[in-house]
Symmetry: C2
């Protein structure tokens, strides 16, 4: 859910996308995004598309046919990065682990050692498995190999620490509908100076394909017009060169969502996410439910719950939605039927929501298998004082 202030902002009257007042709002939005990404990158902006558009922008601006990219695949979104990279002609080197596990820097060394790698791409918070990937050490690893470090932080941004500059991340994209708690539709995006250098070197004038006849007025070798970051930089930079019409209402919403994040404070927000996840798991344990993601690498905002033996997960999910108005995710890909994914993100991460979910979930599970009395998991949740442990939170 989004905070009512975010929804109210989206109902404000429209102004023109090149109106001086809108440009000021956009500048403030970009400055707040930098704070949330913990970066000084001048090139930080919301892309006019969802997180998937951000993923595409991350690859299309940097990959040309034949480039090697190394992708960590331990869930659905790592797999999707491979598909997107492939679309632009990359030679994709997949480093694979079972879904729900995470990588250590050593896992990437053999693929990087082959040389000539353009990008090392990693998912920070794997939405399909609830696994929390540590980014420590990956920046130096990529840079030593002459590669750029690309991070998917769709589900992590504003829920757990994201440290773009400290980690040496060169390309990062997120979404608005996860821990930022704004509606879906925009993709916060940032590029390091190192990435900008690579982008400029790449965007040299010339035909994209052999024998092309008419050079356009803004030719470069980036195989997308809408997501061409060299053009977006001119639109949102000092030049204000018209590129496309920015989605005004969505940016009103993001602006308000970012203000809410910074009013709460990033560290307080991370602590809130951790505390509510601890409450959730204290209750779930009394129901006999166990987490799917590897120990010490569990996201507090996206809790992957193993489906207990004897339970029909689709039926349970439908009952939660139909009878209790609560939507949880099912498993994707190889985890289909094996897990539920319980989101406690941003505005929705609250003790009240944990309690409401546990009450409903106890009833739904109880219709299928024997579980404790509903008050037991609720009590466990309310009096829990654990914190989720993760090396990435250190």
């Amino acid at each position: 859910m989004a905070d009512p202030r975010v929804l109210a902002a989206q109902a404000l009257p429209l102004i023109g996308h090149l109106d001086p007042e809108f440009l000021k709002l956009m500048d403030r939005t970009r400055e707040m995004l930098r704070q949330v990404f913990r970066t000084a990158n001048p090139f930080t902006l919301p892309i006019s598309g969802t997180g998937s558009a951000g993923m595409e922008a991350a690859f299309v601006n940097f990959v040309k046919p034949g480039d090697r990219v190394v992708v960590g695949v331990d869930g659905a979104f790592g797999g999707r990065m491979c598909e997107v990279a492939y679309k632009y002609g990359a030679q994709v080197e997949r480093v694979v682990k079972p879904w729900g596990q995470v990588f250590s820097p050593d896992d990437f060394k053999p693929a990087l050692a082959q040389g000539g790698v353009k990008l090392l791409a990693v998912v920070h918070a794997e939405t399909s498995t609830g696994a929390w990937q540590s980014m420590e050490g990956l920046g130096a690893l990529a840079h030593d190999a002459g590669a750029l470090l690309l991070m998917d932080c769709v589900t992590s941004l504003a829920g757990v620490p994201v440290e773009v500059d400290r980690w040496g991340v060169d390309i990062a994209y997120s979404g608005t509908q996860k821990c930022l708690s704004a509606p879906p539709g925009l993709s916060p995006f940032t590029l390091s100076p190192r990435a900008i250098e690579a982008l400029k070197a790449r965007a040299a004038v010339g035909p994209l394909f052999p024998g092309q006849s008419i050079p356009p007025s803004n030719p470069n070798s980036i195989q997308s017009w809408y997501l061409d970051m060299t053009q977006l930089e001119k639109y949102w930079g000092a030049d204000r060169v018209y590129h496309h019409t920015a989605p005004i209402s969505a940016i009103y919403g993001l602006h308000e969502a970012l203000a809410l994040v910074l009013e709460e404070g990033l560290d307080a927000r991370f602590a809130r996410h951790a505390a509510n996840a601890a409450r959730l798991w204290a209750g779930l344990k009394t129901l006999g439910c166990t987490p799917w993601a590897a120990e010490g690498h569990r996201l507090p905002q996206l809790n992957a719950v193993t489906v207990p033996a004897g339970v029909d997960e689709v039926k349970a999910r439908k009952a939660l939605l139909d009878d209790h108005g609560i939507e949880v995710g099912g498993g994707l890909g190889e985890l289909k039927g094996k897990i539920w994914r319980v989101g406690l993100m941003g505005f929705s991460s609250s003790p009240a929501n944990v309690a409401r979910f546990l009450e409903a979930f106890t009833k739904v599970l109880g219709a299928q298998i024997k579980v404790p009395d509903a008050s037991v998991p609720l009590e466990a949740a309310l009096f829990s004082s654990d914190a989720t442990a993760s090396p990435a939170a250190a």
Copy 2:
């Protein structure tokens, strides 16, 4: 501006993008889009990006390297279509006219006669010039040459008649922020059965680039992941296969905007646009202002006004915005400094807005050159009974 009902819809609470209630809302949105496009095309949906994303989708799904495309260029957006086509390796054949003029079917015959043309691409309502292109005869012309007909109707949809089926249009895209009067951010998009056939023939499995190593799980030769219409069809079709997360709030807004259009009735809406443009021009004529677009081809929703001799157009535009809160467009490209573009679109097309603009404009022009008393153009506007004439309105 957007109708307050549209803005209010954007403040409604979020539901999941695969929630059964949202899927129903999406189905109703698609059905209303069909009515507004005047098409029976099953493949009709809003793309999760602005009109520029729609333009890119129109090309990337149909053009492969080396394909010939014929583009009519009589303004900025015809030129932009060439740039986008070029990004995907097209051999671009430009058919050029001075900005503000329009094409007859005969203008395209020589280029089409060369054979092997994949697309004939035309802008229906050229936002940069205010020119209204007739689409009559272009469908048969394209199909006889074995080409698909692609139409940019960003500024025309719901302001003047758009007849996708009757005109034989195969690929059409629009924007939400023009005559639909919703905020920018989505691109209404439709594909004819003939276009779908071409899409399916094209999307054969196989590596996009020679020597690629790992085939992804959904490979095809369309050089975009986010705008791959074969994937979007599965997301919005009976399968509901997750592709990206739809921008919920923006679709709430579009749903309400389409309901408003159909409550008014398309024909009544077109008549309203025509009547208010006639009011505007009756007033502008008394100020000595003349239209830029060719006679008989002037869009009622986008009125290109020639800057009179001796007037500083930037200064006038700034005074309108700063002193009167009215934003008008300046000229783009080769029309920079030569025209203003006065929008009377959707919710903003009203006698009150015409009167408010004329009062302000009389003062602003009067600060630079000698003009009639402010009451003269206002009276001319209020008592005008002309209708804008255009062959395309017949």
